[in-house]
C-alpha cells in the first residue's frame, strides 16, 4: 500500500515513529480542510496559515497518543476550531469592541456554506436553511466566532436564556435534519 492509500490511523502511527513522509501525506490529505476552517474563523490569511501549521505540529508531536476511535478529519477539525477560538479570545481588542456588534459587521460574519457545492455540504446547507434566522445567527456566532452565550446575548441584546435556547434548538434541528432523528 502506498502512502496515498494509507489510513489516517496508519499515518498517525508512523508519525509517532517520526516518519516525516507520513506527516507530509497527512498534511496533503487534510491541510485544505484545516486551513479553510481556520480562515473562516479567524478571517486573516496569515493567522490561518500559522494556525494550520500549529495544528499539524501538535499532531506531529503527540501522534503517539492518538486513539483511533473516530474520523481523524473530524478530530483534526475540532483541534483547529479550539485553537481558533483560543486565538479569537486572546484578542482583547476584539472583545473590547464586542459590546455592540454593528449591523454591518454582523452581516459580514462568515457564511460558511455559501460558496460550497459538494453534495455533502449541500445537505448541511439545506439543513441550515431550515433554521429560523435567529437560531442560525446564534449558532454561527457561537461556533465560528467563539463567542460565549453571554457575549452573544450582549451582542444581540437578547436575554441569555433565549440565546441558550436558540442554540440548543438549532443543534437539535440540525441533528434531525442531518442524522434523520425524529423530533424529541
Amino acid at each position: 500500500m502506498n502512502d496515498a492509500h494509507s489510513p489516517d490511523a496508519s499515518l498517525l502511527a508512523r508519525m509517532a515513529q517520526r516518519d516525516p513522509k507520513a506527516l507530509d501525506m497527512f498534511y496533503t490529505r487534510h491541510a485544505r480542510a484545516v486551513f479553510s476552517l481556520a480562515l473562516t474563523m479567524l478571517g486573516d490569511h496569515a493567522c490561518a496559515t500559522d494556525l494550520t501549521q500549529d495544528v499539524f505540529l501538535l499532531v506531529w508531536r503527540s501522534a503517539g497518543t492518538y486513539q483511533p476511535t473516530g474520523s481523524a478529519r473530524a478530530w483534526l477539525l475540532r483541534l483547529t476550531r479550539n485553537r481558533a477560538i483560543d486565538e479569537l479570545r486572546r484578542d482583547r481588542r476584539r472583545l473590547a469592541s464586542e459590546s455592540t456588534l454593528s449591523e454591518q459587521r454582523f452581516h459580514a460574519l462568515p457564511a460558511p456554506l455559501a460558496l460550497t457545492d459538494a453534495a455533502e455540504r449541500q445537505a448541511v446547507r439545506d439543513a441550515l436553511a431550515t433554521l429560523p434566522v435567529e437560531q442560525r445567527d446564534a449558532l454561527v456566532l457561537a461556533f465560528f466566532q467563539g463567542l460565549s452565550h453571554q457575549e452573544i446575548a450582549t451582542c444581540l441584546r437578547t436575554p441569555l436564556g433565549t440565546i441558550k435556547a436558540r442554540i440548543r434548538r438549532a443543534l437539535q434541528t440540525l441533528r434531525q435534519q442531518l442524522q434523520g432523528e425524529p423530533d424529541p
Binding site: 506527516l23 500559522d50 494556525l51 501538535l58 497518543t65 486513539q67 473516530g70 477560538i85 472583545l95 441558550k164
Partner: protein, 145 residues
C-alpha cells in the same frame, strides 16, 4: 473535585461543553459524568457530529503553497532537537500533554475543556499560548515575506 452531575444537568450544559464555553470546574464535572454515563455520551457524540458537519462545510481554500515544506522543516527541526529525548508528554510551554487532545471522548473532555481562554488564561493544551496570533512566532520556520 467537582460535584457529580445529574443527567439533566449534563444535558443542560452539553451545548456549552461542545462549544468550549464552560468554566474549568464545570468541564471537569462534565468529563467525569460523561466517562460513566453511556446515555449522555451517546447524546454528546451525536451533537458533536453535527458540529463536525459544520466544520467541514466551510468554503474550501488552499493553504499557501510553501506551508507544507515549512511545516516539514519545523517538524524535522523539532525532531532533531529532541532526538535524544522521548516524545514530550507536554508541550514546551508546560501546558497539558497529549492526553488532553485525544479524539472523541478524551478530545471533548479536555480539548474542549481547555477552559475559557478569555477568562481563565492559558488554555491547557495550547502549544503557543500567550500570544495574540501565532503569526508573530514563526521567525525560525517562516521565510521572509
Amino acid at each position: 473535585m467537582a460535584a457529580p452531575l445529574s443527567c439533566d444537568h449534563c444535558e443542560e450544559l452539553l451545548v456549552d461543553y461542545l462549544l468550549h464555553t464552560l468554566e474549568p470546574e464545570a468541564v471537569q464535572a462534565m468529563t467525569e459524568h460523561l466517562s460513566t454515563c453511556t446515555r449522555c455520551w451517546v447524546h454528546l457524540t451525536a451533537s458533536e457530529a453535527v458540529l463536525d458537519h459544520l466544520a467541514q462545510g466551510v468554503p474550501q481554500r488552499d493553504p499557501p503553497g510553501e506551508l507544507g515544506s515549512r511545516l516539514l522543516a519545523a517538524a524535522v527541526e523539532g525532531t532533531l532537537s529532541t532526538a535524544s529525548a522521548p516524545v514530550p508528554s507536554a508541550p514546551p510551554d508546560g501546558s497539558a500533554g497529549p492526553s488532553s487532545w485525544q479524539p472523541q471522548m478524551s478530545c471533548s473532555a479536555s480539548v474542549w475543556g481547555g477552559g475559557r481562554g478569555m477568562s481563565s488564561g492559558k488554555p491547557r493544551w495550547c502549544i503557543s499560548a500567550g500570544r495574540r496570533c501565532s503569526a508573530t512566532s514563526r521567525s525560525s520556520a517562516r521565510p521572509s515575506r
